[in-house]
């Protein structure tokens, strides 16, 4: 090939935040392929310092509008670990429902609104309203249900107000829980219909494989998303408090977000990582869908992350129904938790829709935060996206430029990156000359 290719996708669409794709090829050889994160830093870790323990979850939930529930839960778990607070079994279950609600919200948003247009070969979800009205309506209805579900448990659809250190501000009414269970049961056929449509169009997902490491929470009891230890497909489980040994953050010039690596050059987190590590613990319907999509652990095709999200959506519905059934057997209206602040350091982790999320805080004796660290899932994926680019781009060179561009965009979208989350911290260590205007 003697074709020269210059692709520069500035501000990739249908992802959260600002990222750029750069591909330069000369004489059929890739000269440069780069995933650039240009989002301005957010500095959350700096401004939660000197804040009292009961405000931290409220503040850090604002890191993201999509995973606000996940950030709240990780933050609360870190605070509870630091102060040695035990929470009741009922609160644990309700919090599991909260994370399921968010998982459903985020996954259907991503698969339905952001990925589906790629599968149908259109630019956005709007043209699909004319061609696939039923599918779009089904997706909108599932999204609505997920929002209602989150609203019931968390008090709001985003930025929860009901989740507080030590448990929940108030227990949702059992009547409403029962009604929600009914709605979830009724949503199963709709979810199946959406999965059916995605399956029919799954051929549009490129067949690309690159061996990498997958990291997610693992638990012997359940398909871990709320609680567990850190697990890796390369073997070994680690306690959450040792998370720094897993993520090993480092800074690269092209990104305002930090990169991470573990045993290999990069690792991946997210729905596919969870599936690869805990597929045996999925509920039956979700397992059935995994079989129909031909998904088997360990799957090294990052594009299958979209499929894993869909499977998790179905799993979340099934698991939520099971949890509500279990909850309602012995449901109490629990009093508002009372917390006595204590000095200490603690880390909390939740597997949010985009992958494993860590928060770690240090408190003084009055419960004032003195140090904070948050490691966001997209942060952990950036390095893997870059390595995928390096492996994927050379295989694309024979194709027309538009198609190469689309394929690279699809690859980034498959990771469901939440870029503005990931650029929460910028440690300016590199040369001034490499800083672009908008960061300097």
């Amino acid at each position: 090939m003697s074709k020269d290719i210059n692709i520069h996708v500035e501000h990739l669409t249908r992802v959260e935040g600002h990222g750029n794709i750069i591909l330069n090829a000369k004489n059929g050889k890739v000269e440069k392929v780069m995933w650039e994160v240009s989002e301005a830093p957010r500095l959350f870790e700096a401004f939660v310092r000197d804040k009292p323990y009961n405000q931290l979850a409220q503040i850090t939930s604002r890191i993201c509008g999509i995973c606000s529930i996940g950030h709240t839960l990780a933050s609360l778990k870190a605070t509870e670990a630091a102060m040695g607070i035990e929470i009741s079994e009922q609160s644990q279950k309700l919090r599991r429902l909260a994370i399921h609600g968010e998982n459903m919200q985020s996954h259907i948003l991503h698969v339905g609104y952001l990925v589906a247009p790629d599968l149908f070969g259109v630019g956005s979800v709007i043209p699909l309203v004319n061609t696939h009205k039923d599918a779009v309506l089904a997706i909108v209805n599932l999204h609505k249900l997920s929002n209602e579900f989150s609203d019931l448990i968390c008090g709001r659809t985003t930025h929860p107000i009901n989740l507080v250190p030590g448990g929940l501000w108030k227990s949702p009414s059992p009547i409403k829980l029962r009604a929600m269970r009914q709605k979830l049961v009724e949503a199963v056929p709709t979810a199946n219909a959406v999965a059916e449509i995605v399956l029919a169009n799954a051929g549009a997902l490129p067949d690309f494989k690159r061996e990498t490491e997958f990291i997610a929470l693992v638990s012997k009891k359940e398909y871990a998303i709320y609680d567990g230890d850190i697990g890796s497909t390369d073997g070994g489980t680690y306690p959450v408090k040792d998370y720094r040994k897993i993520v090993n953050e480092f800074v690269v010039p092209q990104s305002t977000a930090k990169y991470t690596k573990h045993k290999r050059e990069s690792f991946m987190v997210g729905a596919l990582a969870r599936y690869n590590l805990s597929s045996k613990q999925l509920h039956p319907l979700a397992k059935g869908w995994a079989d129909r999509f031909g998904l088997k652990p360990v799957c090294h095709n990052p594009f299958m992350n979209n499929v894993a999200q869909l499977i998790e959506f179905v799993h979340s519905i099934e698991d939520s129904i099971a949890i509500i059934d279990n909850l309602l057997v012995n449901y109490k209206d629990e009093p508002r938790p009372k917390v006595k602040p204590k000095a200490g350091t603690g880390a909390g982790s939740v597997d949010v829709p985009r992958g494993i999320l860590f928060h770690e805080y240090t408190y003084d004796a009055k419960g004032i935060c003195t140090k904070a660290n948050c490691v966001i899932p997209t942060n952990q994926n950036h390095n893997n996206i870059q390595h995928d680019f390096e492996a994927f781009a050379p295989t694309l060179l024979g194709k027309p430029e538009k198609e190469i561009e689309l394929n690279l965009e699809m690859l980034v979208r498959a990771y469901d990156p939440c870029i503005s989350c990931s650029t929460h911290y910028l440690k300016v260590e590199w040369n001034r000359g490499t800083l672009r205007d908008n960061e300097g």
Partner: protein, 226 residues
């Protein structure tokens, strides 16, 4: 002939000569002096009943001293008027406030979204909205403050239909603290009555309204809360 009669009057220290059988509002507007109106609207031509009281002007001489709606006040020789005195400003402000008590401020849901005449008047007269309490159904004995919950409703801008307090959660002040002194005074009294400490309230308000904290502290001092 009567039509040749000229009327001489003074509006805002400006000498004006005009023809009779006109209202002060018409003459003022013809001379480039802006007087706000609500009920006098191009949608309702000929409707001049002086019902909204937005166009109040102050008579300083040449008539019975006091406030009069300019849309129904006929011009007369020797009238001396002010359209921008403190009395006029305060009276008009009260008028807007009274309207607000009946007006659901759902600007976020409204297609005009704060670009209406009324919203402009609110801004012109330094009225920045109503607190969450105005939309909250827990008023009276159901008030969260009375149940010992540090709710920021009394200090926070409404327009959310009291989403959180309606369900029994506290207001965390995410719409930011109102900086309008008069209105937060009521809020501060409510905290005082409920037995909260000023420090707690300030700490809670800081999360979303760091830049308004000094203003809040100042009013708290005036009210003897600190």
């Amino acid at each position: 002939m009567a039509t040749d009669v000229q009327i001489h009057m003074v509006i805002d220290d400006k000498k004006i000569t005009c023809k009779p059988n006109q209202t002060v509002l018409e003459v003022a507007r013809a001379n480039g002096i802006e007087i706000p109106t609500l009920c006098l609207n191009s949608l309702f031509p000929g409707h001049k009943v002086g019902s909204c009281r937005m166009c109040l002007v102050e008579i300083k001489g040449g008539g019975r001293p006091g406030l009069q709606p300019s849309c129904t006040l006929p011009v007369s020789s020797g009238l001396t008027l002010s359209t921008c005195s403190d009395t006029v400003y305060n009276a008009r402000r009260t008028v807007v406030e009274l309207f607000l008590t009946e007006h659901v401020q759902k600007c976020r849901d409204c297609p005009i979204s704060g670009n209406c005449n009324f919203a402009k008047l609110c801004r012109d007269y330094d009225i920045n909205g109503v607190p969450v309490c105005a939309e909250c159904p827990n008023q009276g004995e159901g008030c969260l403050l009375k149940r010992g919950v540090l709710c920021l409703g009394p200090l926070t801008y409404a327009n959310c239909n009291a989403y959180c307090t309606r369900k029994g959660y506290r207001c965390e002040g995410c719409h930011t603290i109102m900086v309008h002194d008069d209105i937060i005074k009521f809020g501060i009294r409510a905290y005082k009555d409920a037995g909260f400490k000023a420090k707690e309230v300030l700490e809670a308000a800081k999360v979303f309204s760091f830049d308004s904290i000094k203003a809040l502290e100042k009013v708290m001092k005036e009210e003897g809360f600190i």
